[in-house]
Amino acid sequence: MGLDYQLVLWNKQKKRYDLVLFLFIVIYLLGFAVVTFTTNANTSLETLIIRAFGSLAILMLHIILMIGPLTRIDKRFMPLLYNRRHFGVLMFLMAAVHGVFSIIQFHTLGNVNPIVSIFTSNLDYNSLTNFPFQVLGFLALIILFLMAATSHDFWLANLSAKTWKALHMAVYLAYTLVILHIFLGAFQQETSPLLLGLVGLGATIIVALHIFAGFKEVKVDQAKVSEEDGWHYVCSVEDIKENRAKMTTCAGERVAIFKYEGKLSAVHNVCRHQGGPLGEGKIVDGCITCPWHGYQYLPGNGQSPPPFTEKVETYNLKLVGNKVYIDPKAHAPGTPVDPIKI
């Protein structure tokens, strides 16, 4: 990607992100321990660990799930998105500590394999209040493990962005399982009403944010376009800022039209890395630069500059007076299209 100085810049940002995350985790765990031991001095260490790590994992999961819709609603949340993956992997590790200690505490005393014991120590599968809630936590943990394990770009490259995205949508299933794990667990274990209240509030916010952001996007998708001989009217040239893009919708897909050096080019809006919105990025050193993690594409052909090999679809544009029109038919990813001169 691009020039060296940019890589250094990204890395510095990445390190700062990780440092903040790490401090957050340490402060949370210490705070939890201090509050627990001052209010209930005879809590056992195992119970403390199970509760501290479980509640930390669910808190982190809430933050992670809020980042996406928040950036759709307000651009200022963008910095949180960068390196969301490390956030996710750390969240899995916290949940894993909670899960492993729960298994040690509740399932290693008998003569059954502890994993089997999670599934068989309570067989009330057709009850709601006495549902084996630990099974729900266990399944969620497996999903989170698969996501953490495939989070590296190596898998992204080998699974294709679409499969990877589909896999990572399983986080919603994991989220649902965890919420039920906590609420159904509360009928069977003493659970702090404060935690239940907070998780209930958190879940309401998460669901509302996603639905709100989702329906906000419907409006964009269904915006009326005026058509002339198969060409869609987009906007006038002045509406696009230099080195920035204007977004439009062609056959249900988002397209970004960039203005740079007195030229216009159109590419598909979705970054090949993790689906970031290219149209919200800018042109840096002559390349369209993704706002999420900085992948770059040449506006003239939708290809990443060598040695990178990512490609996005390109589109034909035409200019009538100062009006910009687009041909909604996409070219195959990486097809060169001569930019139109303004």
Partner: protein, 132 residues
């Protein structure tokens, strides 16, 4: 995200928004409920004389009554029970009342009652049995 992913996204979140509250509400509705006995403060003057005391790490039980026999079971729970729902039954499996936080609970009992059982009605487990 591409268009189909956006659609799937919306669908998934609307489903979660409907199903999660539904399941939690159903679970709450299905929780067995028992009369909660009032948590009484110990006021020695107003109480009946103690006939018998039983003590363990978890609780202290005072059987109070008159010469005709015990009429009241006073249960001092020293630490909160691990189980969020606990119900006290007499020796004929009649519900005396539900207990929760640590404190003092009083239940009227039959003089002939010989034992009480504390059960977790959700897990269907016996927490403890006490001979009186």
């Amino acid at each position: 995200m591409i268009s189909s992913q956006r659609k799937r996204h919306r669908f998934i979140w609307v489903m979660i928004g409907v199903l999660l509250p539904l399941l939690v509400v159903l679970a709450v509705l299905r929780t067995p409920s028992f009369p909660y006995s009032e948590k009484a403060e110990i006021v020695a003057e107003t109480s009946l004389p103690i006939l018998k005391e039983i003590e363990s790490d978890l609780f202290k039980i005072n059987l109070r009554g008159t010469s005709d026999g015990a009429e009241e079971l006073e249960l001092l729970l020293k630490v909160p029970l691990k189980s969020p729902s606990a119900v006290v039954f007499d020796d004929q499996q009649n519900v005396l009342g539900q207990i929760g936080a640590s404190g003092v609970y009083r239940f009227p009992i039959r003089p002939a009652n010989k034992a009480i059982t504390i059960k977790d009605p959700i897990k269907n487990q016996i927490i403890t049995e006490i001979k009186l």
